[in-house]
């Protein structure tokens, strides 16, 4: 049973999900990614995973069989519970709710020995289309307020499986960081009448020094206040609050720019571990004039230390302008 507990002083929620650990001492061992020989995510091992939720394949009849490009399955060790409602519990002084939600794995390709940046643009496009389609699908579950799409690449980024994959974790609450972006952007919008992300894009395209890549519809920047060296944000050039409203043409162009950004990151930093996540509007909301979906990417280099954990401030040893310069110059 998963519980979502709230800190009594600050707005901080913790999912307590005991199904994910065996013995405490096993937590101490470094994350090891599962090797090729025993990988249940590889084509031909479909019967070793939980039954698929969605897959793109040539022969639709072959559910849970071979022949797929992208495949979505329930996480075998979910952080949240699929069944039931998010009833409140707690002792009076403390507050907690049942950890109800959905935790899915997107297997990005059938073959083991590759990574997202090396897939074809068409295949990356399929992965992005799956994100869109699952966001649309999860919106029909009224218990869920938000679905976070994210990727952990490499053991240092928290990946426990080597095979190319990402995850979608849907929760009954809007995660704090998204709620803060929504609150901050509504404030900017009410002050200025402009979406702050649109204003940011205009500023970045004018200044130029933090722009990594731009296409007709998308821009990749190293943000002004990058928390991490080589942090990148991918944004649609035209205002759009909901990722799930992107059409095929947009997703194809997004696939190309994302692939290029990830290849450059790999070239500059020699294939580093990295994370990305998608910040889009909450499920079942209507178009927002103040909020602009974006994908945030960052390599995992130095460990976060006591200062970052204790202060909520970050120390970045590379100026974002310098990072952008190196990423622009990298071979694609």
């Amino acid at each position: 049973m998963s519980e979502i507990r709230k800190d009594p002083i600050v707005d901080r929620w913790v999912i307590v999900a005991t199904e994910r650990a065996a013995k405490p001492v096993e937590l101490v061992q470094q994350a090891r990614t599962q090797a090729l020989q025993t990988c249940p995510f590889c084509e031909g091992h479909e019967d070793e995973t939980t039954p698929e939720i969605l897959a793109y394949r040539q022969t639709p009849a072959a559910t849970n069989g071979r022949g797929w490009h992208v495949r979505v399955i329930p996480n075998k060790y979910p952080a949240v519970t699929a069944q039931g409602n998010s009833a409140t519990a707690g002792s009076g002084f403390y507050h907690q709710v049942r950890g109800v939600g959905s935790h899915e794995v997107v297997i990005e390709c059938p073959q083991h020995d590759t990574n997202l940046a090396e897939l074809s643009t068409k295949q990356v496009g399929d992965v992005l289309t799956v994100y869109r389609d699952r966001l649309r699908g999860l919106a029909s579950d009224e218990r869920l307020a938000y679905a976070l799409v994210f990727k952990n690449y490499g053991a240092l980024a928290g990946a426990s499986m080597e095979h190319c994959h990402s995850q979608i974790l849907a929760t009954p609450n809007v995660p704090l960081l998204v709620a803060e972006e929504l609150a901050g952007s509504v404030q900017h919008h009410s002050r200025s009448g402009v979406c702050p992300y649109c204003a940011l894009l205009a500023e970045e395209l004018e200044v130029g020094s933090r722009v990594v890549l731009e296409t007709t519809r998308f821009v990749v920047i190293c943000p002004f206040a990058s928390r991490f060296p080589f942090e990148m944000w991918v944004l649609p050039r035209t205002h759009a609050s909901h990722f799930e409203e992107q059409d095929e043409t947009e997703l194809t162009e997004l696939a190309a720019i994302l692939k290029s950004a990830l290849r450059r990151l790999g070239a500059v930093l020699n294939d580093p571990a990295y994370n990305y996540y998608l910040h889009t509007a909450p499920l079942r909301t209507t178009t927002m004039p103040h909020f602009h979906w974006h994908l945030e990417v960052f390599p995992r280099l130095a460990q976060l230390a006591g200062f970052e954990h204790g202060s909520g401030m970050f120390i970045n040893p590379i100026r974002p302008e310098h990072a952008a310069e190196l990423l622009r110059a990298a071979l694609d």
Copy 2:
């Protein structure tokens, strides 16, 4: 030159401190701690460090020489700039201030091959007394609003030096996480007339299941909404907002309970990397009825992944009640 940049949408500050990195690709290498042979923190190597700010030694005349128990020096690669004022700069759309502040290293003992949990209680008490004395000293610098005391133990916790040490980073702003605790606690207090940390202690002592240790003056708990497996908070039993007001008797008792808590953590998890930080009231503030200083300790086990970074929520695979049970049962 250090800059403190603000994210344009949310309340997130980033220190951009380029003096700390050489080439970008060097960031990729795993943190390696400096080995014994070349350690400038060892007794006898005082001329290899920056000149000391404070030291406890038998013969006070021997400044920057041998014979010390605890020694405080400026960090050789400071995240903030010691000189000047925190003048605002920025491009209009963005906001930044000069990264003015103080970044100090507390060398916790003269010998290399040990760690805080293995020092004598007297020596741990000296380290805590140095924290107190430096907080008092830093309060006289009117440019500084807050001083965060923190410790990184082990490469996985972000330590770049092996020799037993902690750090004090003082900034012109109150860090976000402290500001949030202050805001949350003032809200509780105005609603209930009680310090929420005092209420929390009363609840924990009554329930008992999350209490790890208690003495006359201090309590160690695994907090209800622990972000990390085996997270522990050390709090004074009687209300106290300012750590720097603790007297010798209190610091001696605190040293004993902290040492016991760290030894138990080491016993249960086989000497894990860990961080701790001290949350006390901002510099030059008067007694606060709502806020209660505390020290937060947590081992570094699994990597934070894309979900935590993207949501601000944490996933903890161990119930705090179970962690507390194991820590209570551990040999001291």
